[in-house]
Amino acid sequence: MKILPSNALKNRSLSSGYAAIGLVFLFLLLGPLLTPNNHTSQDLSVSLQAPSASHWVGTDYYGRDVFARLVYGGRITWLVAIAATLIAVCIGTIIGLFSAYRGGWIDLVVMRLVDVMLAFPKLFVVLLIVGLGASSINLLIWVLALFSWMEIARIIRSEVMSQKNRTYIKSARALGFGTPRILFKHVLPNILGPIIVSSVLLISTIILVESGLSFLGLGIQAPNASWGSILNDGKIDPLGTWWLSVPAGLLILTTVTGFNLIGDGLQQLFDPKKSL
């Protein structure tokens, strides 16, 4: 596998993607060591202060340190995106694998269900559910996952369709191996490339959706922060309180671009024919 950093230097997309994500990761990892401030403690006497030595990225309306909020908010954004992606990939992989391998009416029913799910405008349905339910990080993760697995299932299905009539799968069936063994030991390792690529691309999609929801006040709730909710804090006077919107926006941009570049780079490595 050529997805390790040492090999990535040869691929421009992958190396820039790794660099962007590496920088944001270091920021999230080491951030708490750089600031003594807490992300939830309020001090109205320092409300909406511009960046200074004591508050590197200024303060918000409640006098909370924006640097600390960017760090902890980013951790929550990443946690939600990665957890939702993992759940969506597990669901999508299992459904895609069995649907394609079994074929027949099972495949027909499952794929029509996927079509129906895909036909829903995802963001509005997620908005509705999150808006009606008691907002929590767990709910957000599950709702995002349950509306994201379909693309993965479709990709996995088409990959399994191309593998299942290959001779090595026929040989495995002829040897008397069971379906789970054939799927997980023989088919799955041969379609890992597309799964990894689509997972990485899904992370950036979910970060955007989560940021959008939090920006609208339906995602992560105060006193917790997420990059989307910090952007929301700065929306009243984007130019006057630029330290609220610009750094959060830049972090979202860097992360989403980084994951997309990694996804593109991996796509080029796994399947050079599909890259431009």
């Binding site: 290959r166 001779t167 090595y168 026929k170 040989s171 495995a172 069936r173 002829a174 040897l175 008397g176 191996f177 069971g178 030991k185 023989h186 390792p189 041969n190």
Partner: protein, 260 residues
Amino acid sequence: MNSTRQKQPILEVNSLQVEYPVNNSGGFRRKNKPAVIDVSFKIFPGECFAIVGESGCGKSSIIEAILGFVQAKRGSILFENQDLSKLSPWSFRKLRPLIQPVFQDYNQALNPRMRIGDIFKETLPVHLRDSQTDQLLASVGLSREILNYFPHQLSGGQKQRVVLARALSVNPTLLLLDEPVTSQDLSVAVQIVELLISLRKTNNLTFLLVSHNLSIVQLLADRVAVMKNGQFLEQQPLAQLLSDPRHNYTKTIINQTVAS
């Protein structure tokens, strides 16, 4: 031959018909196209029965039907007196190791992500793994060092030997040889045929050989069926087929073989 005929057949195929769906009229009407039409034959323990015919005549469909990869439209396939179509999926799975295919496409016959050692680990019992692996490798003329290799690191001949060794690892009684040497160059093909002859003797195997090449069939087969457009034109013991072909198409195949 007479002695083998008095035995119970290991495989008995009766009036087999296999069809594949074909779409025409832009996919609105589905029609079935027959690939195998009313084919019957018996294979007795220890013999090699060959089916000869041009590409697309339905030879491989017979193998696919025996393996249960395609459903027979009509007819029955009896293996050791058990009707395969009437077996439950579980019983068929238990019986599968006894019928092992060796496909033409040796490049795709091994999982590209598995080392050869891991491929053998899948089929051999843990306590006998080392000794049986050595025995299998020796029987197909391979050395132990290939166990660390991935399939793409092996030559065509080595891959086909690994495929044979893997098939033998589950102690089959019937090998379905689907153009086993067609994609190999001549020297490798000869080696594989010699290997098949010796394995048949040492492991007491029965072969169903499918090939478009009568020269290969001549080296291995006891009885031969000639197939065209999904049907058997004739089936005879090899010597009789060569000396007294009944059908013009058979004569053409024999003449082509002699000429080449």
